[in-house]
Symmetry: C2
Subunit: 343 residues, 2 copies
DNA sequence: CCAAATCACCAAAGCGCTTTGACTGATCAT
DNA sequence: ATGATCAGTCAAAGCGCTTTGGTGATTTGG
């Protein structure tokens, strides 16, 4: 059933039917009701493609996901972010189209999206510090919003980010307050902007207390379980091993915990751990009392908000870029305690 | 730059330009080259919406993801599956559109997709044993393919599945061969079809050896880390605790391992563990030697293949449903060993 | 040498929708 | 009574593409 048929069926013109369904005022209430009813009855839905062609709006938003292994780390996060964003989209009537592309085809993928005009806007994931994709999208002129930020790009654009610096600074402060001085940073890959900011926060806290930054305690890699495990094994063999670990992901934190327990030590007594917790739906940080002390910020919530932000931007053309900075909460669990007295 | 402009620029008709670009024979090689060049130079891409409207093909495939908590478990899997599917799509020139919908709106979501005509086919995730969505899609007549199967639906449809029954039967056999008799099944929610089949495999192996099935050792729930942990804690308090665990997901297996290590036991010596391993890119089963003995089947590969299967089906209309059954490999890691002698 | 076939191209219709501009009666102010 | 206003409706153009059904020009075959 299409518009034409529906109109014929009702003995009205396509114009009137279209206007009735789209809530234009120049249609009498009576006809509007009649049209609405017939539409419902025949389960009529306007053909998206025709509508898109006529209006110039695709009612869809694109996510370009890099396939490269370097970015693989965003995978665990991805599901939750997407489902948050999806909620906002479906509320606003947008579809979400995903493009998975190999790294080198990235820029052409963006060009293609804009040339093919099948999306009204784009969400950009996992930005690096000077991410060329941002400049590219600015040039192209398609609305976009970034999940995260790019430190070295100064021209304004829309983004939503967690305050990674402040979160890690507070976490480090928390450990310092407990008397820890040897704090190991188990960070994500530091070409990713968020990881860079986290390190800045960590360093700022140490510096503020006059604690020297020991490069031996600085790690940056893909945030896997094994990475967390290995890092603890390695650092505990140092002459002056760390008494605390600040971990960038709950997945790596699992590895950290495994290494601790394997060494017959007790987490929260012998060694303290704080992790960042993206509040993933399938990797909850314990039930009632959190297992880990954590800087928590729901990535699902971030998805929801970022999508909303992009939609607003799309629907109010000419508006200036929108930004939002979320603060992570520091929730205390059982993985932290006073630094043990070394004798 | 659109077709019309490009044609004008070249001094040709739209027809000729269109045909040249789409490889029709009735265009001289010379003009084709000229057109191709101009198109490249101006970075011309046909407008998807117009093309879709004209051809009736959307060049897009829909994934409807249920948002309900009951299905949350598919989240960790989801990212990998999608990225596999995405590879196939982008090779074949399809877009992927995701719809996240609340449970109760499921059926209307499918109707909407078909009425709005913005996809050429649908991938269905996480089927239950008698999944109403399958019957619905059969009725609607839109091409679709299922990741998994629905035991109780007999009319043919396209699917791709891992041989869950045989995988779990072999895994159970393996444990039985090692002398284990008390084997605990840490399964996923058994309204999901795959979980049901896994239990069947487990039961078949036990029955074949005349080992009694103890309901106290049968568990089914969302596959979280905590679930694995709790299950071990609980079962180790039994009078005759299990000496082996057969686990449905590597995430739950992490919890199992944690509980074992916390009890001062050694995995692989005191207690054996086999897990199903979806070969997730961010949760690798160890590096060289796998940590866990596992039934392994890459969910990413499944995504790739299922997408391919659906595309074939879409592009050869009238073809009978396609199906593919993947066998999981049983890889031996360090988490299994002979059953300890009870004295 | 002429009809038939082939080649290279084109004009125009159509996909299903929105939107512009025009057209009726009816209502209103003068 | 008369022109202006307005509510309700419609025909037709247009969005950017594909595809049908041509048309002349060239080649081919008898």
């Amino acid at each position: 059933m299409n518009l034409k048929q529906l109109a014929a069926h009702l003995g009205l013109s396509q114009t009137t039917v279209s206007r009735a369904l789209n809530g234009y005022p120049e249609v009498s209430e009576e006809t509007r009701k009649r049209v609405q009813q017939a539409a419902d009855q025949h389960n009529y839905r306007p053909n998206t493609r025709a509508k898109a062609l006529a209006t110039g709006r695709a009612m869809a938003i694109g996510h370009v996901i890099p396939l490269s292994s370097r970015h693989e780390m965003m995978n665990p996060i991805f599901g939750d972010f997407i489902s948050g964003a999806g909620e906002s989209y479906s509320n606003a009537g947008y579809d979400m189209v995903l493009s998975l592309v190999a790294d080198k085809e990235q820029s052409s993928a963006y060009h293609e999206m804009v040339a093919k005009r099948n999306v009204d806007g784009i969400v950009l994931h996992a930005p690096e510090m000077r991410d060329p994709r941002i400049t590219l999208l600015q040039k192209i002129g398609l609305p976009f919003a970034v999940h995260g930020r790019a430190t070295e790009i100064t021209t304004p654009y829309s983004w939503l980010d967690v305050n990674n610096r402040s979160a890690f600074q507070r976490a480090t402060d928390f450990l310092l307050d407990l008397g820890h001085r040897r704090i190991c940073l188990v960070n994500g890959q530091e070409n990713m902007d968020f990881a860079f900011r986290r390190r800045r926060g960590y360093e700022a806290a140490l510096t503020a207390r006059g604690v020297e930054i020991d490069p031996q305690l600085l790690f940056a890699d893909e945030m896997t379980e094994v990475y967390g495990y290995e890092t603890v094994r390695r650092t505990q063999r140092l002459d002056d091993p760390p008494t605390a670990y600040l971990v960038s992901s709950i997945i790596a934190a699992f590895g950290v915990r495994r290494a601790i327990e394997e060494s017959e030590l007790v987490m929260g007594r012998d060694i303290s751990v704080i992790t960042h917790d993206d509040d993933l739906s399938y990797l909850r940080n314990g039930a009632d009392v959190p297992v880990f002390t954590a800087t928590r910020s729901s990535v699902r919530e971030a998805g929801r908000k970022l999508a909303q932000l992009l939609i607003t931007q799309i629907e109010t053309p000419g508006s200036p870029p929108l930004t939002e900075l979320l603060e992570a909460e520091l929730t205390v669990g059982r993985s932290t305690g006073p630094a043990p007295n070394r004798t």
